[in-house]
């Protein structure tokens, strides 16, 4: 009854010509009695047209289906048991099928015998195609109509507005029958500008200086103050925090096996300091992007900016890396941080299937993943003296700059359904189709990082400028123009002020991608400078303040709050840059941006106050208010210590209780105490003492919440 393979080649032809009588009776009997019932009972539920299920692209209720197989290849190759995946699966050698209960050894033996004998299969053929990797039918012309894929443009601002932002905001307010709030008072404004631009409160003297100038010429005083704060070295410290969230900056790994620290990044802080410096120097944003993806390729002869490559190089390295499935996970991290971070697109969604909502087919994901598959995480030696292994890596982590370089440049296969064992077609490394005017050109220079960087940092890219403008905007208003800062796709929030966003984005590019231009444009608007009072009108028709009829009242970020505690108590160490520190150490007096960020365990203070998990890119911080935060404020050694510092400061200022309380209010809140506050303070100090009083003032809402 055993046929040779040669004979068998004819079978499909015969089967098409004749009815099932073409098969030997005993073979048919074997199929009908031993094979078909098993398929029906154990397989059809997930793999048949009858049930409408084709898991893994596999259907088993037709001859074509079983022979053609699914995503991984032929399930049955007649007479070739070793090539028939169905046998591996039922033996639980690769797939484990059926998943719930392994077939008995007898049944498995029947399948072996059946295949060896040529896999007689009389089942009717149908014309319907076998399910394969389904591909999205994207109507590219239609897809490009979506707002975020169209080039941003400038719009007319009717009316007389010194700052175009106010023109757009006031137009939408008018449409909603809303009116903007009046300007914030001097005290509110000076605190807002200090906290927002440099992340620190103004001292009593600094505020007083502004009040005096404002009395003469308010507009000029504001102008001068903005100039001064934008030029401050502290500006970069404040705004670097935003980028460290975006770039999922961290200095270690989530997986730590024993005391193995070989995958740690002890010099990561140099990347953080590079970001601070870039912001202070007003490095154009397009250049900022290019350097972080391809500094080594941009200036091969000059390694000064290679530290910027930490954007990728400080990414997570997973356990058992170098195995195919783990590297596939790492590529996803790289694609994710680049696509969400720079473009506001969730390309990683397309790793296992075409993007369900945006025009991003799976092959586009693998076109980008190929760039990172052609890139190596490199422990670059910090200087020439460092001992280097044969492969060019510095031997010690502490002597390494963790960056990237090209290695093993190659295109990769699509992994069907994200499964590394299920290879689809090879995709050339290239940019996303939706962001390409014509058919995207395959990258030709090394990994393609520089070509990728240039396509991102391009005026022709409709997303890059919009995305960063939106992130910076959110840093000032607490809410973003596009409420989902890392998703400008179909499922993202539509912009609250589309024309404003586009106009700002275009002018930002016209101003050579100058971030300081953007910052200045925002803070000099009346929209930004208005008060945060809740008017009845705005609360009834725009409670969420989507249309910006008031400034948002905001809780300080943990960086602003902790730095303020240090500054008001007169103990802030304002040195710029350097190795990382532990922010809840009671004796630590440097700014919070210098905190170590750990993927293994985030510092509890940072975690408590809404720091994002640096294992992945973070679009924005989710703000929570919890009793655990308040326990820290009430009881932590850090807070008790700050109160002690403050008492020392107050007591060295004056012996007189009135003067002391006046000084405390001016220092903490830039104002004098009101009469009832003074009375309450005096009585409390008399009974409980200054230490307790100081802690109350430091714990007050007014110190935490910015008007």
């Amino acid at each position: 009854m055993f046929r040779s393979a040669k004979q068998f080649v004819l079978l499909p032809v015969l089967a098409a010509l004749f009815s099932s009588s073409a098969f030997a009776d005993e073979d048919l009997d074997f199929f009908e009695s031993k094979i078909r019932p098993v398929l029906v009972k154990h397989c059809y539920e997930c793999h048949s047209k009858e049930y409408g299920q084709a898991k893994g692209g596999l259907v088993l209720d037709s001859r074509n289906g079983i022979r053609k197989g699914g995503d991984s290849g032929a399930a049955v190759v007649p007479s070739e048991p070793s090539e028939s995946l169905i046998l591996e699966a039922v033996r639980y050698e690769s797939f484990e099928m059926p998943p719930k209960t392994k077939l008995s050894d007898d049944v498995i033996a029947h399948f072996e015998k059946w295949i060896e004998a040529g896999a007689t299969d009389p089942r009717e053929e149908t014309d319907e195609p076998i399910v394969q990797r389904t591909r999205a039918e994207i109507d590219w012309n239609k897809a490009k109509q979506f707002w975020s894929f169209q080039q941003p443009q400038k719009y007319d601002v009717s009316g007389n507005f010194e700052n175009r932002i106010d023109g757009f905001v006031s137009r939408s307010l008018k449409e909603k029958n809303l009116t903007a709030n009046p300007p914030a008072d001097d005290r509110t404004l000076v605190r807002r500008l200090y906290f927002d631009l440099i992340g620190l409160p103004p001292s009593h003297e600094e505020a007083a200086e502004f009040y005096a100038e404002a009395k003469e010429d308010r507009a000029k005083a504001i102008q001068n103050l903005v100039d001064e704060l934008l030029a401050s070295q502290h500006f970069g410290e404040r705004w670097a925090a935003l980028w460290l969230d975006v770039s999922r900056y961290a200095e270690d790994q989530a997986h730590i096996v024993g005391k193995n620290k070989t995958l740690f990044f002890p010099n990561a802080y140099r990347y953080r300091d590079w970001v601070i410096e870039a912001f202070n120097q007003d490095l154009p944003y397009d250049e900022f992007v290019r350097l972080q993806l391809a500094a080594d390729l941009l200036t091969p002869e000059d390694a000064t900016d290679d530290v910027a490559l930490g954007f990728i190089g400080l990414g997570p390295k997973y356990y058992r890396r170098n195995s195919p499935e783990v590297m596939a996970d790492e590529w996803e991290d790289r694609v994710d941080v680049v696509s969400r971070g720079f473009l506001g697109l969730t390309v990683a969604c397309a790793r296992c299937h075409d993007h369900k909502f945006d025009p991003i087919p799976t092959e586009d994901y693998y076109a980008l993943a190929g760039v990172f598959a052609s890139t190596e995480m490199w422990n670059s030696p910090v200087d020439e003296k460092v001992e280097v292994a044969k492969n060019g890596h510095a031997k010690e982590p502490k002597e390494s700059l963790h960056i990237i370089r090209d290695k093993n440049v190659h295109d990769i296969h699509v992994f069907v359904r994200g499964d590394v064992n299920s290879k689809g077609e090879v995709v050339p490394r290239r940019f996303l189709q939706i962001l390409s005017k014509t058919e995207p050109v395959a990258f030709a220079q090394g990994s393609g990082r520089l070509e990728l960087a240039n396509l991102i940092a391009s005026e022709e890219n409709p997303l890059t400028a919009r995305v960063i403008v939106n992130r910076i905007w959110a840093g000032y208003f607490g809410t973003a123009l596009v409420g989902t800062p890392s998703n400008f796709g179909q499922l993202g929030a539509p912009p609250s002020h589309p024309e404003l966003l586009d106009d700002l984005a275009v002018r930002f590019m016209e101003n050579d991608w100058s971030l300081k231009w953007l910052h200045r444009e925002i803070v000099t608007s009346k929209t930004y400078q208005q008060s945060s009072e809740l008017s009845t009108n705005s609360m009834s028709s725009d409670a969420g303040n989507r249309f910006l009829s008031r400034m948002n009242r905001r809780r300080l970020t943990v960086e602003q709050w902790r730095d303020a505690l240090l500054k008001v108590t007169g103990t802030l160490d304002s040195a710029i840059g350097g190795p990382s520190l532990t922010p809840d150490d009671r004796d630590e007096r440097r700014r919070t941006v210098y905190s170590g960020r750990s993927r293994f365990q985030l510092n509890p203070l940072l975690a408590m106050f809404d720091f994002p998990d640096p294992n992945a890119h973070s679009a924005s911080r989710v703000e929570t208010t919890t009793p655990l935060q308040k326990l820290f404020v009430m009881n932590s050694p850090f807070m008790v210590s700050r109160a002690e510092d403050f008492v020392n400061r107050v007591e060295s200022e004056s012996d007189d209780i009135h003067e002391q309380i006046e000084f405390a209010y001016q220092t903490l809140l830039n104002r004098s105490p009101q009469a009832d506050e003074l009375g309450l303070g005096e009585a409390f100090v008399a009974s409980a003492g200054w230490q307790q009083y100081a802690q109350v003032l430091l714990a007050s809402n007014e110190f935490l919440i910015l008007d």
């Binding site: 499922l491 890119h617 409980a688 007050s700």
Partner: protein, 462 residues
Amino acid sequence: MLSKAGTGFGMLGLAGTLQGMGLLNRETQASQGNLEQLHVPAKAKRVIFLFMNGAPSHVDTFDPKPALAKHEGEQPSGKLYRPSKGSGYMPSPFRFAPHGESGVVMSELFPHMAQCADDLCVIRSMHTDVPNHEPGLLMMHCGNLQPIRPCLGSWMSYGLGSENENLPSFVALSPGRPVVGPQLWSSSFLPGEHQGVAVDTNDLDIEKLISNLKHPTLSRPQQRQQLDLLLKLNRLHIKQRQNDALLDEQIKAMELAYQMQSEASEAFDVSLESKEMQEMYGETPFGQSCLLARRLCERGVRYIQVYYVTKSGKQPWDTHSNNNEQHRKLCADSDKATAALLSDLKSRGLLEDTLVVWTGEFGRTPYSQLDKKKDPKKAGRDHHHTAFTTLLAGGGVKGGLTYGATDELGMVSVENRVHVHDLHATMLRLMGINHEQLTYRYSGRDFRLTDVHGKVVEEIIA
């Protein structure tokens, strides 16, 4: 029960984040009697997850394999199994016997749990994806091999909130650190308040147990006086700001923190238990952690993880050598504590709606791991992911049930197989949640604990 209605500990920060989800949103208050928001009626209200770090050997505990004696010394075949350097299949030296009316079989290492046999649901057909601790632990906790997903406890906290506004909804008890550590109780992309509050149970002194629970110098009346002043100042402040809800939220959180100090101090204080009670659980770190878990569960903590680790060992059950002796020791401790927990919960009427899980991250090889030159008594067993045993009890699972089976030698689970994703789906179901519907929109798509997997094991649900 001390459970209360209201916007409690877990709820406070939720307002903004739940809006987009529209699921299990409890703005309408009450943590009980809210079943229309659950997907199915809940059988369990809280979970105690006992985790045997390092992975217990299934063939020495709950999955007897007499055939191992017949095949002793033979080498395993199949490409999944590394050619063993050891002496082949190794029978368990422990006697197995049926217990209780149901006749659930376990080895002699569990004399106390044998008394609870009729409450146990023994799943013998567990399997997971890889035989390595780190990814195995992450799979068991977060349903993913990489550290980029929220853990089961965080999902439960997110979906169900807390039963007690003055206590955290999710607590992780561990004497020292298990392998992997904080990622096992990480909320990942879920809002931070759903992260497990990690408590090091090496020192049960209440002030060392939870940071910042007590002011270093002030007495409670002094602190009340202090907070009264703070409240007055904050009220003056909010009055001039149109009673902005943002400010009110801060005031409420401060009051809650003050309440928490006393309630948490009491809840976490094992020394308030009688000497007999402490002895019943066993005066080991694991025993006392189980006792603490019972106190917390009794007071409405939603999800409690208890790790079996020791001061010196982050994964004591990882018996690559001395498997038999080690299991004798480890099981003695775990048996006593687990049985005490089950019977204690039962006598308090809590077992019926508290789900207790006892498991490792995978199983151990039915064959030995041993340098042939060494003493065979010191043989160990290696990691084994294609078959292991998980115990469930209480919380709506069928007691006295043995579910699923491995093959003759305990190599592969072959009958009614249960993947970790299936276990997760089942646990969520018991809590009233459809695992396909508890989702969180992040990074452009809806994530869930079981990703695209998971099938509820209906057969074990009472």
